[in-house]
Every structure is written in C-alpha cells, then in structure tokens.
Symmetry: C2
Subunit: 395 residues, 2 copies
C-alpha cells in the first residue's frame, strides 16, 4: 500500500534541505545540515533521558513542546555535550543564526549536535556553514542526500527512508548512528518530515509509538548517548489529512528502516543480529531478556566468530531477571535448535548452526517457557573493528 521512495527528508512537499562542509570535522567532510519547511509545520520529538543531556537537546526539547517549528539545524563532529552555560549559549546562537538565514522566527528553529563529548563548538565555522547551507537551500535544496551525509560521525553510509501513501501524502526521514547505541531511548539522531496535515498531538503520539517500536529496540554497544533526538515536522503541504492509523503505519515503516540501517552500520559490525525471545511472562520481560543477549560481549564475540555458543545465550537470558524455566528453555542460532526444552542438541547441530551463522543477517530465537509474550531486539556482533574505531587517539 505504501510506495517506497529513494529519498529522505525532502520526499515530502514543501521541505528543503542542504548539507555542507563547515570545517567542524577534522576530516573536512560534510558536517552541517539544514532542513527547512516552506510553511509552518506541526512538530514533535523524543529525546535522550540521559542525565547529562547535551545543550542542543535541552534547547530543542523546550522548543518542540510548543508543537510547531519551521526547521532543524544539525552539526556533526562535536556533540556540544558537557559544555556548561557556554554550550547552552552556543546552541541558542546556532539556532538563531539558522533562523535568520532561513527567514523564520528564532524560536521555530530546532537544533541538534553529534560527535565528541566535552568540546565547545567552533562557532565561527558553524556560522559560515549555516550561511553556506542557507545559500544551497535557496538554489533548490530538494536533494536531501548531502543533508543525510552531513549528520554522520562514525557511520559508513547515509541513512534515508521515505514512503508515499496512495492518497498522495509522503513521509520521509534520515538518521545517523553507529556507536553509543543503546535501548530504551531515542538512541541517535533521526529527522522525519511529512507533507500530511497532522495536528501536533496526533504527531506526538504517533512519533512516540513509532520510536518505541523501532529505535528503542536496537542496540550496538549498550551505551546510551547524551545527544539522542528524534524530531518530526508535518507541514500539511499536501492538503491531505491521513487517519491516525495510516500516519502511524507510515512512521513505523520509515523509523523501522532507519533503525535497521543504524544497526547494520553499527561500529565494526560484520553481522545484523535479530534476537527474538518468546515464551515470556510479558513483552517487557521478553525485551529485557533479548536485550541482555544483545548486549552481552561474550555472545557478540561468539557471533563475530560464528560460534554457536548457546551456553552464553542461556547465561545472558538467565542474568536478565526475566522469568524462565531452565527445563523448558529452548535456543536456536542460525536457524538450528541447539537447546530444546532443556536438552542440548549434539555436535552435528552445532556444526550446522555454525554454518548458519556465516550469513550477514542472523537470528537467535529463544523460548523462555514461562508465558506467551514475545519481544525482539536488533543488534550487531562485536568485532576487532569496534575496538579499533573507539580506541583511536584524538590529539
């Protein structure tokens, strides 16, 4: 019913975006993105629950509460987190300059940052970047790939997704995230736009629901971030008002694809791993058990080695605190049952599972034998590449 589009935040009518190299990243790559709606838009967002929430999170959280916005300015290369009152001032200045360049009210510009924690933004470069991005917007600005690239840090590829509804409205988005990805929060940056007519409270509810079923069900390293934010703008440009169910459906599809793209691009990841837990007392317990497996360094190293080490999976399930019956517990890896209601399968099964784990996308399926609820978490393996990326000394 929904049609896929090879676009991002500019799939929806009335949105323009640009990405430029402002010199914030040492590499000289694209590092400043600007997204602007040509008309007032309903706005909604979810933010990190981290106690050291970054300055731009604090600013955007306040602004999005008003229910409307006109644009989003984002930089990568510096997180503007743990930066005190000066960081807060920098985030406000960054938003004000972007608003001035875009010709909108300063309070209607949202702001996000991502990158290294603890350093101040180079405001002179940020200013020049904003001016350059605004210039690019003026001369068209409906190719949103540069914007999707400008928000990346250790990511290896841009993450966009968009759909069009048969009625004619569209919804698209972009996201970034590869490390410091942990469950139970809006765990990265994602920006969603739609030209549907949506009231702010309907948008808010739909975003919360979609985030809960997508970004909140992924993990790369169990590390919550200080800068996570998901922002959605609905500018009504299509003149079409979708049913709340249709809107929620489209949001879930786009958020789900972006979330999967984040895990697939996880730092050092060689595998996309789906951990499915059934037989739980509740969905919450199923997810908790799945997360315990998905965050276990021993399980993740075994996956990197394509070792069907179900004993580590069992240990991770048991430590999660979810109710389980050890005599009824079943575990399958790579499509092969290795523990069947408490009984271990033989060496042949382990060898077959080893072959199954050779795929790029693999599954760990568990049954706790304690109830009828299910849950799922997407994760990665743990490779020497993750260590290499995060061990790099930055002088």
């Amino acid at each position: 019913m929904l049609t896929d589009l090879d676009q991002g935040v500019c799939a929806a009518a009335g949105f323009r975006a640009a990405g430029v190299a402002a010199g914030i990243k040492r590499s000289g790559g694209l590092d400043l993105a600007l997204v602007v709606s040509d008309l007032p838009a309903a706005a909604a967002g979810t933010f990190t629950t981290h106690r050291a929430a970054a300055a731009p999170v604090i600013v955007s959280r306040e602004r999005v509460a008003a229910g409307s916005a006109r644009g989003i300015v984002v930089n990568s290369g510096s997180a503007n987190a743990m930066t005190g009152p000066r960081g807060r001032q920098d985030a406000e200045t960054m938003a004000a300059e972007a608003a001035a360049q875009a010709g909108v009210d300063p309070a209607e510009m949202l702001v996000c940052s991502t990158g290294k924690i603890g350093s101040h933004l180079p405001m002179d470069r940020v200013s020049k970047g904003i001016a350059a991005a605004a210039g690019a917007l003026g001369s068209g600005g409906t190719n949103d790939e540069d914007a999707a690239r400008a928000i990346l840090t250790t990511d290896t590829r841009p993450k966009r997704a968009a759909v069009s509804h048969p009625d004619g409205w569209r919804l698209g988005g972009m996201a970034k995230g590869a490390g410091m990805i942990a469950p139970d929060m809006a765990t990265m940056l994602a920006f969603l736009t739609t030209d549907a007519v949506v009231a702010p409270d309907v948008l808010r509810a739909a975003v919360c629901r979609a985030v809960d079923r997508s970004f909140n069900l992924i993990t790369v390293d169990g590390e919550p971030s200080t800068n996570d934010a998901v922002l959605a703008l609905a500018n009504g440009r299509s003149g079409l008002r979708p049913s709340p169910g249709d809107l929620a459906g489209a949001l879930e599809v786009v958020c789900g694809r972006l979330a999967e793209a984040i895990v697939a691009d996880g730092e050092g990841a060689t595998k996309l791993v789906r951990v499915r837990v059934g037989g739980a007392r509740s969905v919450e317990e199923a997810r908790r058990a799945a997360r315990s497996v998905a965050d276990s360094p021993l399980v993740k190293c075994a996956l990197y080695g394509e070792d069907a080490n179900w004993g580590r999976v069992a240990a991770a399930l048991a430590k999660s605190g979810a109710a389980l019956d050890l005599d009824a517990l079943s575990i399958a890896m790579g499509g092969v049952t290795l523990l069947d209601r408490g009984e271990a399968a033989g060496d042949e099964a382990a060898a077959e599972a080893h072959r199954g784990l050779g795929a790029r996308e693999v599954e760990i399926a568990c049954d706790l034998g304690a109830g009828g609820a299910e849950g799922e978490i997407l994760t990665t393996d743990l490779s020497p590449g993750y260590v290499a990326i995060n061990a790099e000394y930055e002088p």
Copy 2:
C-alpha cells in the same frame, strides 16, 4: 606484620594439593585439581547468585552449609552448567570419587567446575584424573603450583597468594578467572586455606567480608558467571586461634591479591585500570558509578587507545544513576585533571593525560560533587585480544 609467601593453598600446614592432566581440556593441559586437608576443617564459601547456577555450585553450596569439609576437587575445561539432572549426578559422582580416593566422607568433599557452559563432563576421564591426583597427593603434594595451573581456562598464568602471621599461622589461596568477570558476586573460583583454629561462623563472616572488599570490586566484561565460587578451609593444624580482626586482615590481603591478579590477567587486557569515585552520597553509589565507568565498552576502548576521552567517563558516570552535580564534577585520567568542577582543561592537559595512560597500571579518578563517600572498582581495557579470545569457534 604479615609476611608474604610464594605459595598457595599448601602454605598452611596440613594441606596437600595436586594438579593433573585428565584429558578434559582439548589442549591436553592440566585440568583437574585436588586439595585435601589432613584433618577436619571448618569450611565457608560464597557462590554465584546467577539463576542458572552450575551443578557443582548447587552441590557445594549445600555441603558448605554444614560448616566443615575435608577437601575440594576442581576441573577446568567444562563448566557442568546448564546440564540438568545428569549434570547434578556427575557433580556428586565426581565428589564421591575424590572422597573415596582421599579416604574421607563423601559429604565432606566440595566440588567446582569451570570451562564451557552446556556440555557434560567426560566422567571416564574425570575418574582417571582423580585417581592420578590422589596418587600425586600420596607422594608429597605440598607443591601447590600444579593445582593452581589445573584450575585455569583462558587465564595466562596461575594466581596464588599466601601470608604468614607473626604468631605462626598461615593463610594461602589460589584463584582462576580472566573472562566472564563481573561485579556483585563471588565472580570466579578461589580456594583459601589456613591452619589457624577458626570456628565456622567466624570463618563465614570473614570470608564474606573479604570477598565483598576484593572479588566483588572487580570487573573484566560485566558478565556474571554460572560457576563462581570462593571456598575457604581452616584446619586448625597450627593450634593457633587468631583474633577475628587478624583473620579478616589476612583474608583481605590474600583475596585482594588474587582479585588483582584476575583483573591483571583479564582476557586481552593490556592495562590494569583502577576507577576511583569520590564525592558520592554513599559507598554503594560510588561503587555503582565506578562500575558504570569500568564496564563501559567506549571507555575501555579509549583506554586501550590511551585516549584521555573524559567525555565518555562523564557519560558513564551520569548513566549510572548515582547522584552527581554536573557543575561540580571532576575527572582525572592518567594522573591529569581533565574536568575540574565542570570546567574542561585544555589540549595540553589531554596530551599529558595521554602520556600518563601509556602505563600498564592506570587510574581514573572522579569526584561526583554530591557527598563524601568513596568507592573503587578494578577493571581492564577492551582490546582486539578480548574479541579474538571470545570469537574462537570450537567445533
């Protein structure tokens, strides 16, 4: 006041030990240890709180409750965990055969296993190994290094420690552990012996206290184990009855050294890292904050790279849930203050800290600015070596 001895479980009079190769380990290395007291001994132990506690843990936990024992039989190479009723029977048979060979009551033999989860013990090899170990005991058996080697798995070196008290009694021990090391439990195997005269309840209290101040304050990978056990035997052979304070002091010294040896030999570790947290509301909160830093893969990768990335430390402290004041927070790494009551130091300090982190033993010192309590956790860095060790496919 205490004198160090280059011995382990045979430092105390009246204890014999042996270690043999029973063929349980694929490598053909030493894998079965037997420790026997020549006379009845008071016994105490602490065990894993893991819900999938291994069969030998269940057997030894019941037996140690009686307050006395005569010996301990231990195998490495197979954990006898997640092995159901047959595993329980195997653990009892293993203890019974060791008791028969040592000429003691079956109920007085304690039993431990360590190694891969989910496979059954090769009981024929275990039996032959027990007979060989008993033979070695008969012909002397006071060189305890083979026993210390026979309990190792991914460890790279044996871990022994012993002290003698000026009054004449001695206390010694051995431990194993390199991965699946996490706080808040007796997180590995350790065996302690003393020839002091000690009542079971005094021994129990002293062991709990020492474990709480040593093994429970270390982490390698945040992974609790199914097989952890600390066992202590006091056979009174010296005829000397130490004060409870002296006994506790000696236990703390020996347990502290063994715990530090476990972290220093952590899987793939290139550094021993002391995370100290002060300015907390309570010791519990200080330790929780220190653990959050000590278990953070991002912090641990930065340590491997000798990168003074204090932002990751701050993020880990804030996510711990311990009370902290971001404006009063201070962080030092490698002996250099990088965040001073909320104010970041300059690039020069970061470069100096980078040099400080080049040492084999490094410190992260934090002040939460929220109270007067302190806590400390010992940990390792996270290196490609950890991944390599745990990614090995075992067909």
